[in-house]
């Protein structure tokens, strides 16, 4: 089965922990995980973020579980890139 190389997730999370700790927790889930988080919207207690994770073989279930454990909710999977080793990226915006 092809491995997941990259995913972009739309997540609603509490303001605490902040995106630094949030990113660190996700990045620690696997070897070579690279995480980028950008904040879309900030409310009094919550913030909507775009969470982008890259790696050789991303574990979606573990990432979803970590998001939930940190109090967040996964709203949608906005981009995904999957393929075998050496296969070029094929990012496809969800629409």
């Amino acid at each position: 089965m092809a491995s997941i190389k990259r995913m972009v997730l739309d997540v609603l999370k509490p303001r605490h922990p902040n995106i630094i700790d949030f990113a660190r927790t996700i990045a620690d889930l696997g070897e070579g995980y690279r995480v980028v988080i950008s904040v879309d919207e900030v409310d009094d207690k919550t913030e909507s973020v775009m969470l982008s994770v890259e790696g050789e073989n991303l574990d979606f279930e573990a990432i979803e579980q970590a998001i939930k454990a940190l109090g967040g909710s996964l709203h949608s999977i906005d981009e995904i890139e999957a393929g075998g080793s050496g296969v070029d990226s094929a990012a496809r915006p969800q629409g």
């Binding site: 509490p14 605490h16 207690k45 939930k68 940190l70 109090g71």
Partner: protein, 191 residues
């Protein structure tokens, strides 16, 4: 586990609260023990077992009071905050780090709030206990206990100064002045 605890402290922001409780209730404990020893000094009481029992009783009571009052108030506050966050997130958060942090924070804050006056109290009692065991002290037992209480209060003043970003010596002296005012009030009111 250590990292998990740090995360819960961060989420619940209970590190700062515990620091505040440590100073406030530690100050309460040290000042109470100072007051007790000033009272014993002025009354001429020299029976060390009586003095130690009274001081230990006060330290234990302050410790238990600190634990119970902080736990009750903090757990109510945390529950309210978690419910508010659950409403904002539109989901149950009891099985998340937020839920665990909101259950952990009251115990942590309560422990700090109770241990601060108890441990500072024990430190002030230590010279009395040493004297009762026959250890020679440079001053009399109550005088040494009073000096220890003043040192504890000075130390807490320095901690307050560091939190405020103020000059440590001035903030230490400020708590010493409060201690001296307390001692003078006890002297004035002493029958």
């Amino acid at each position: 586990m250590y990292r998990q605890l740090l995360l819960w402290l961060h989420i619940s922001r209970s590190g700062k609260i515990a620091r505040r409780y440590f100073v406030v209730n530690g100050f309460d404990g040290a000042l109470t023990l100072l007051g007790l020893n000033v009272g014993f000094y002025l009354s001429g009481e020299s029976n060390l077992p009586v003095i130690i029992s009274a001081c230990l009783g006060a330290a234990v009571a302050l410790g238990v009071s600190g634990v119970s009052s902080a736990y009750i108030s903090e757990s109510a506050e945390r529950e309210r905050e978690l419910h508010a966050l659950e409403e904002a997130m539109v989901r149950d958060l009891s099985d998340t780090d937020h839920g665990r942090a909101s259950r952990f924070a009251p115990w942590w804050v309560a422990a700090v709030n109770g241990l601060a006056p108890f441990l500072f109290g024990l430190l002030i009692i230590l010279p009395l206990w040493l004297a009762a065991k026959g250890v020679a002290l440079p001053l009399g037992p109550i005088e040494t206990a009073l000096a220890t209480a003043l040192m504890v209060l000075f130390f807490l003043g320095i901690v307050i100064g560091r939190i405020q970003g103020a000059f440590w010596l001035w903030s230490g002296l400020r708590t010493l002045i409060i201690a001296l005012v307390t001692a003078i009030l006890i002297y004035i009111l002493n029958p």
